[in-house]
Amino acid sequence: MEPSELKRSKDSPNSDESTRRSSFPDEVLERVLSLLKSHRDRSSVSLVCKDWYNAERWSRTHVFIGNCYSVSPEIVARRFPKIRSVTLKGKPRFSDFNLVPENWGADIHAWLVVFAAKYPFLEELRLKRMAISDESLEFLAVSFPNFKALSLLSCDGFSTNGLAAIATHCKNLTELDIQENGIDDKGGSWLSCFPESFTSLEVLNFANLSSDINFDALERLVGRCKSMRVLKLNRSVSLEQLQRLLVNAPQLAELGTGSFSEELTFRQYVELESALSNCQNMHTLYGLWDAKGIYLPALYPVCTHLTFLNLSYAALRSDELAKLLAHCPRLKRLWVLDTVEDKGLEAVGLNCPLLEELRVFPADPFDEEIIHGVTEAGFVAVSFGCPRLHYVLYFCRQMTNAAVATIVQNCPDFTHFRLCIMNPGQPDYITNEPMDEAFGAVVKTCTKLQRLSVSGRLTDLTFEYIGRYAKNLETLSVAFAGSSDWGMQCVMGGCSKLRKLEIRDCPFGNAALLSGLEKYESMRSLWMSACNVTMNGCRLLAREMPRLNVEVMKEDGSDDSQADKVYVYRSIAGPRRDAPPSVLTL
């Protein structure tokens, strides 16, 4: 095989030695390693010895980069010559909540330029929290003739014109997945840019976009793409139009409906129900904007084999949800709005014994006068009925320590526990004590816990518990919690597998920041904002740990010595050169 011959002459100074060391030819090793998909396994493999490092890098086709600034595109291209698929993540997660300045960075363009030169056969690009312009999308569309899959999640900087370029030029496109982005929606004509000869699309998600698309163009597109298995429509597509699409695409596995609320005649309703019942492969349902309870029964034929139901855009009442869930016995993942209230969650516990993931989003997060939503009772009810629950994201306005203790007793297998008590620093509403014991129960009982988000009034005791018990914890989010540096020190000292730590509005200062000195190089990143960290503390960190990038973002009008927002991450690419003036690299 050509590549390995080239490799031997370049990389091993003494070819006799290398043949003695490896017990079978490189080609075989590469073949074996090419079956490894997990990037963590591959990282481990590459550390075994030089031969394995080389075999691994030549056989790797997909690279995952969790922080785009931890490495440069040139370094990636040098190490991995045969990449066909790239996943890149950019901005810190708190940029989702407007805590990161506008022009912070994470621009994809420099990467695309390198990829165009080194990976002309690139097929897939998946981006999360990156900035991408229309020019970049056009460049992408024309530079990679084999390009197949584009997925953009929480990205910004582009408009529908960029999508038009992709639709026009990517003749082999199988996936176009546009999710939750800050997109400049200039109209729906991009969809009409797919040529009439184009038939390869398997995944189309444009639920993010609000403007009307040309329905005839969409209908023809769906009709001729016989392998389409994921179709997520935007709100502008009506129920009647949905029915017409489904008639031509009964093979769909995942469907995102458009608006689910127009007035239907009886005949139209029957036709919709019939079209849905033909979709025997459907396991995921999404969208359902403005869903009217009276039309939900049309979904019943599909519900029997549904495993993922995303109702987080449908403000359903508890009785409407209950009626629907009675038909969904196989549900594993459920996302809802808190309009379903505790009664709705009781129905979850009663009807969905196989449930593994539950996310409850607030319908009115900023309206203080709303007094309904869900409480601890709903969560407890789910835990009794769903012992397999291991992923939860729960927004509520009240919680108790006792309730959380019961919940984790019923569901000890939590891997992801994200609890958001929406009023910052709120105690147990019955005992008025801090919520320390709640999270103590979580970390003591749930030994497999990987991700934790804490909320409510919390003292350092919570962090003592976390440091002592959460030995598998990788991601921790903290807000408005803790009493002193000691809290963060416990976490930095105890959580050996910690990779991502994000903290806001906590009384942790320089002592806390510096207690993690040894740890940050084994982590992806640290975020601290509105804490007690000063510029001097950050400078000290930067000086002691030259392989870390320490970036400070200052707010207008703040004290010169305060480090308002700090972002620390390991990098082999050195300090970045594209930081805007508001970001100081120390």
């Binding site: 708190f94 989702d96 909540f97 407007n98 805590l99 929480s154 939750e180 982005n181 800050g182 993010n208 608006s259 609320s261 127009e262 007035e263 904007w289 403005d290 009217k292 987080s312 855009y313 403000a315 709005l337 989003f361 607030p362 319908a363 009115d364 997060p365 900023f366 203080e368 006068e369 927004f395 958001c420 929406m422 009023n423 910052p424 620093g425 008025n432 801090p434 009034r457 003292t459 989010s477 807000a479 408005f480 009493s483 002193s484 540096d485 000691w486 806001r504 509005d505 906590c506 009384p507 200062g509 509105a530 804490c531 007690n532 305060q562």
Partner: protein, 184 residues
């Protein structure tokens, strides 16, 4: 005390006469630390502030909290509790003296000020501020609506939710007729 009562009587509010809306103030709750308290406190213990607050919460608007993605917030913006009439709540709007009527979607607005501003922009006129005693006195125009009973009512008297569930059409009255309404 007497001064307070007088002020309350002439206060510009939207609500039923006699009802008392909790005031929205930008002051922190007394038993919670403000952001600046948290930052400057350092290691001060939380046990000092354990007394319970029973008054309705008056909160500081905190950036990025609760942690709900902007995308999700925008999606739910147009969403309100169910109002009969299917998607959108389009009602006819007539303005005295205008050659043709317009239609607006009441579901797009969340409060009277938003609605009135939109009407002012749409028809290029000034409606002015509502007061319980004087109606829209002080301007040439008064917004009125026809309710389910067929009666013509002054916009602003009832709570917003009640208004949008009972409003069938809008009419912006002009001139002496409008001024007269304020003195009923």
């Amino acid at each position: 005390m007497e001064n307070d009562l007088n002020l309350k009587a002439t206060e510009l509010r939207l609500g039923l006469p006699g009802s008392d809306e909790p005031e929205r103030q930008m002051i922190p709750r007394p038993n919670k630390r403000t952001l600046s308290d948290i930052v400057s406190e350092g290691s001060r213990s939380t046990t000092e502030e354990d007394h319970q607050d029973t008054a309705p919460p008056a909160k500081v608007q905190i950036v990025g909290w609760p942690p709900v993605r902007s995308y999700r917030k925008n999606c739910l913006q147009g969403k309100k509790d169910e109002v009969e009439g299917g998607t959108g709540m389009y009602v006819k709007v007539s303005v005295d003296g205008a050659p043709y009527l317009r239609k607006i979607d009441l579901k797009v607005y969340r409060s009277y000020p938003q609605l009135l501003l939109a009407l002012e922009n749409m028809f290029k006129l000034t409606i002015g501020a509502y007061s319980e005693r004087e109606g829209y006195n002080g301007s040439d125009y008064a917004p009125t609506y026809e309710d389910r009973d067929g009666d013509w009512m002054l916009v602003g008297d009832v709570p917003w939710e009640m208004f949008i569930s009972s409003c069938k059409r809008l009419r912006i009255m002009k001139g002496s007729e409008a001024r007269g309404l304020g003195c009923v």
